[in-house]
């Protein structure tokens, strides 16, 4: 009898797991259950749909034909309950799906703060295609929007709303943008661009309550008692892994579903991967979450292989994200945190990694050239993190140098000697490493 695999979640972790299972188990019966009534789409691409740079059709990167070719059945439905003893998954519509191996790749959802008025029409998060469609619909008649939160998602919301001609106010609890990850100069570069786009920044303010009229948001009242009238309030204060299914089934959970580096959970026949997995790092003894597309794919690849019988372990590389923040192409690699506490995020945000805020025994050196900015976080014998804004020539080699923990002993003095030496020292390091060589 072919083995029955059920995957909950039609995101990058779930789909990549299905591909992996198929590679290793030709006769497997593979089913993906996804709660959204859409084919697979690029979640990070929602930001570009919101700004209007691409049409919605661009987001659908895997047509249904791909699923057929892969021999994977895609069911639209919401998983309601896991019956672990019977090895069955029950959907909200009553369907019962027996499984031999189950993967929970259910992702994370945006957190809504307990502020009064959050239930009003016009208050939105930025999680899904449905959220994005609703925001676009609202911008057709909205005059003003307020954005609260931090990280990349809040910025993408502010830029998207402004691009659609809505007067946009960005309310920050901190004194500058994303102060836990960016240094003061980097925050200033981003803020300048936001102001150029017509976005109004409010610093060190907190939302006291959301004011509504006939069920719709009409204003946000700040702790200063000042009110900003608005028709849209977009919230991006962090995400929360969807642990309910696992929790109700009595599995081990914390912030996410607990896994080891092979994506096993506390149930030997259930695996978890992607944004929902809170993995134990055997080296540090700590558990960690990530909210990155490429990480979710790698999780899925390994989890799928292990479900089909392999014994692979995830080797957590220095996480990275490259994206436009405030219109400036920016790469974040490894431990770049500033040590400041997080003002605008309650939890991990999208496109974010806890590892960025790890405080290692290291210090930062900075080199700026015009609009181009480079910050290296230099440890004892290796570079532990980097921020590359603007010119991306160093971004790819640095990704390699940091991930592979390349020894910098011989060039360290030059790297830390000052801004003038930094770029040259780095160029020498890259040449020696050979990481500029074509792949």
């Amino acid at each position: 009898m072919p083995r029955k695999y059920v995957i909950v979640g039609n995101g990058p972790a779930g789909l990549t797991a299905a591909e992996s299972i198929r590679r290793d188990d030709a006769t497997a019966d593979i089913r993906i259950v996804g709660g959204e009534n859409h084919p697979f789409y690029s979640r990070p691409g929602l930001a570009y749909l919101l700004t209007g740079s691409i049409p919605e059709s661009s987001l659908f990167s895997r047509p249904d034909a791909d699923y057929r070719r892969l021999g994977v059945t895609r069911t639209v439905g919401v998983a309601h309950r896991i019956e672990r003893d019977a090895h069955r998954l029950v959907l909200t519509d009553g369907q019962v799906l027996p499984y031999d191996r189950l993967l929970l790749a259910v992702g994370a959802r945006a957190v809504r703060p307990p502020t009064p008025g959050m239930e009003l029409e016009g208050v939105t998060t930025f999680d899904s295609l449905d959220d994005t469609r609703a925001i676009i619909r609202m911008t057709r008649s909205a005059k003003r929007a307020c954005v609260v939160g931090g990280g990349i998602t809040a910025l993408e919301l502010a830029e998207g709303l402004a691009a659609r001609g809505v007067e946009t106010h960005y309310l920050m609890r901190g004194d500058r943008y994303w102060g836990s990850v960016l240094d003061a100069h980097e925050s200033a570069v981003v803020e300048e661009r936001l102001v150029e786009d017509g976005i109004r920044l409010h610093r060190e303010v907190e939302v006291g309550r959301v004011i509504g009229h006939r069920g719709k948001v009409i204003a946000v009242e700040m702790n200063t008692a000042e009110q900003v009238p608005c028709d849209i309030l977009a919230v991006a204060i962090g995400t929360q892994p969807r642990i309910e299914l696992a929790q109700a089934a009595g599995m081990d959970t914390g912030k996410g579903i607990w896994t080891d580096t092979a994506f096993n959970t506390s149930d030997p026949d259930i695996f978890a991967a992607g944004d929902v997995a809170e993995m134990l790092d055997p080296k540090t003894g700590k558990r960690g979450l990530e909210a990155l597309w490429s990480v979710a794919m790698e999780h899925g690849r390994i989890a799928g292989a292990n479900m089909a019988g392999a014994q692979e372990h995830y080797r957590r590389p220095a996480p990275f994200n490259v994206t436009k923040i405030g219109g400036v192409t920016t790469t974040l690699i490894g431990a770049v945190g500033t040590g400041r506490s997080e003002a605008d995020l309650l939890t991990l945000s999208r496109g974010d990694s806890q590892a960025w805020r790890e405080q290692l025994d290291a210090f930062a050196v900075v080199a700026d050239r015009g609009a181009d900015h480079l910050r290296l976080v230099v440890g004892e014998d290796r570079i532990v993190g980097a921020v590359v804004m603007g010119d991306q020539a160093f971004s790819r080699p640095l990704q390699h140098i940091i991930r592979e923990r390349v020894d910098i002993g011989w060039v360290r003095d030059r790297l830390v000697a000052g801004p003038g030496e930094l770029r040259q020292g780095l160029a020498a390091l890259i040449e020696r490493t050979g990481s500029l060589a074509p792949a």
Binding site: S42, Y48, I54, S58, L59, S61, R396, A439
Partner: protein
Amino acid sequence: MVSAMIVAEPVRCVECGTCTYNCPLGVDVRGRVRQGLQISSSGCLTCGECVARCPRGVLRFEVSPVFLTTTRGN
């Protein structure tokens, strides 16, 4: 003569489709990146639209082997 080709680094890609959407020839750049297929063998003119517009730095120009051979005078 083709003097450069476009190469990709799939691990940076988030499948947003900006490259494919902006390709004047309608090459499915995103699909090729994911499947590890060469973009140069798709009829690509190396106009650079996809390189310039990719918000994630997935794509870059690289001097093609054809060009290297020619300049070396072989």
